[in-house]
């Protein structure tokens, strides 16, 4: 397991060494060792009671982990019981309550469009060559609440480099699972299914953009978008498409689901921006879960130094 340090990522975005070492010990404790997705950890954990202390030790270490702005993490419980995943209902607690119907194993990822590596890949083979790491990011929902979350995953750039997009590819489009048995609320007409999201290729290649397979060092729970989801920390949460089954390289800008649903309110870019309000509510402040007083929202969710240059010369009021 290799921690890749990139110039662009403040070092505190990356797991502190102590946690990392403990994680290795924790993983080694299962006799697995080496590079592996955390997917196997929990199933092992469930069946082996002896390992619980080891696990709680790693958990304790999370309490010392901070974000790049020295913020505390939100609890595992907050992260896994309060979120939006309309495929399982529109209440914030619906995903946790209803997502048990999702079957993230086995899982296939289809790679399609303008690239050399078109084809369908099993999740394990898709993930295996990637450099997994913990990344602590702020997540800012378009509804003006936020959390700080330790994701586990790898740079999307690795996938793009591997897929060898053609020169004509300018965007990348993601599609979620569409399956009425596993995602019963797709019977409702709240949104058009399947959920679709997209990024400009330079945004997708940015070192902060990751594909996620875990959180808090554990396998990603169903409600958070198992087995594979996107995280783009300087954009509103809805860009972080969950339970991805397809990645496609395109020449034209993908039409993402929320824009398709309400183009006046949700755009393609969806960069966190305290200066551009949602037509119905203010984006100037946000409630960090667990805090009483709202805090000011930061431009690009606090990642402006790293990403602002992607948008130089663009009118962010028009490209909201």
């Amino acid at each position: 397991m290799l921690i890749k340090r990139s110039e662009d990522i403040p070092s505190s975005d990356i797991t502190p060494e102590s946690t990392y070492l403990n994680r290795r010990k924790f993983i080694a404790g299962f006799g697995l060792g080496g590079a592996l997705g955390s997917s196997m950890i929990r199933s092992q954990f469930d069946s082996a009671k002896v390992l619980e202390d080891e696990f709680s030790r790693t958990q304790k270490d999370w309490s010392r982990v901070r974000s790049d702005l020295d913020e505390e993490l939100n609890s595992y419980e907050d992260v896994t019981t309060y979120n939006n995943f309309y495929e399982f209902g529109t209440g914030k607690d619906d995903p946790a309550k209803n997502s048990h119907t999702l079957k993230p194993h086995p899982w296939n990822i289809e790679v399609d469009g303008l690239c050399a590596k078109r084809g369908t890949y099993g999740l394990e083979e898709f993930i295996k060559p990637r450099n997994m790491e913990d990344r602590v990011y702020r997540l800012r929902c378009v509804e003006a609440w936020s959390m700080v979350i330790p994701w586990y995953g790898f740079s999307l750039k690795e996938v793009i480099d591997w897929a060898e997009p053609l020169g004509s590819a300018r965007y990348i489009e993601f599609t979620s699972l569409y399956n009425l048995e596993q995602m019963p609320m797709q019977r409702s007409f709240v949104l058009e299914w399947p959920y679709v999201e997209g990024l400009r290729l330079d945004e997708a290649r940015h070192p902060l953009t990751i594909l996620v397979t875990g959180v808090y060092g554990r396998e990603l729970p169903n409600q958070n978008g198992a087995p594979l989801r996107l995280i783009v920390p300087w954009k509103y949460g809805f860009k972080g498409i969950k339970s991805i089954v397809k990645i496609r390289f395109t020449e034209t800008q993908p039409l993402n689901t929320w824009q398709q649903s309400t183009p006046r309110e949700y755009g393609f870019y969806a960069n966190v921006n305290p200066g551009v309000d949602h037509p119905r509510w203010s984006q100037a402040r946000e409630r960090r879960l667990g805090e009483l007083r709202k805090r000011p929202t930061l431009m690009f969710n606090g990642y402006g130094e790293q990403v602002a240059n992607l948008y130089s010369g663009m009118d962010l009021r028009l490209n909201f």
Binding site: K92, S261, W281, R287, L289
Partner: protein, 202 residues
């Protein structure tokens, strides 16, 4: 009646004390109070239709209590918004009250109910006479504003706001029907006139 009216508040308080309001307790309280208030408003408006459909006359006695509970929950809803949600940051509250459509209509709905709550006593009913009924018809407007407020604050799932709209429309149609049926009779029929004059009828 009082027991029923206080159950939602007690339940919320209990979950608050035991920390069972989820990851975003302020939002949960705010939403539950708003939803409860709206249910009470619609229940208040259902009293007259239920009475005339079933002939269950004594039900009229709970109408005032229902109305006052609506006002109680709405006031709590507003206070939670101002104190817990906005932590009394006036700059932002004023921005909300002047710029956010859903807040403007909700606030108007609540303000309109204040005179109704104040004049809900027997003394005021006697004092205002016929004007009391006209004043208290404002509750339809308040409820309609509350429903619009509800509709505008949801992100995409308009299911419950639409259910509330349907209930309100049905209640209003019923109301109109009573007025229409009565009007031609009004001048001739002393008995009906009397019943219209009684504030308890509206």
């Amino acid at each position: 009646m009082w027991l029923g009216g206080l159950t939602p508040a007690t339940w919320l308080a209990w979950r608050f004390v035991t920390g069972r309001l989820g990851a975003n307790p302020i939002e949960e309280i705010l939403h539950r109070l708003g939803g409860t208030a709206l249910i009470f408003l619609l229940a208040t408006l259902s009293v007259t239709p239920i009475r005339s459909l079933t002939g269950w006359n004594s039900i009229i006695q709970v109408r005032r209590t229902l109305g006052l509970f609506s006002f109680f929950y709405l006031t709590m809803h507003f206070l939670v918004y101002a104190i817990l949600d906005q932590t009394l940051d006036w700059e932002f509250i004023i921005e909300d009250l002047t710029e956010r459509r859903y807040i403007i209509v909700g606030f108007t709905g609540w303000v309109l109910l204040i005179p109704l709550a104040v004049t809900s006593t027997k003394k005021w009913i006697r004092k205002l006479g016929k004007r009391w009924q006209r004043l208290h018809r404002l509750v339809y407007i308040s409820t309609a504003l509350g429903v619009a407020h509800f509709y505008w604050q949801v992100k995409a799932d308009t299911y419950w706001p639409l259910v509330a709209t349907a209930v309100l429309v049905a209640l209003m149609l019923f109301r109109f029907q009573i007025w229409i049926n009565r009007r031609p009779l009004d001048p001739g029929s002393k008995q009906l006139k009397q019943s219209v004059n009684s504030p308890k009828d509206l």
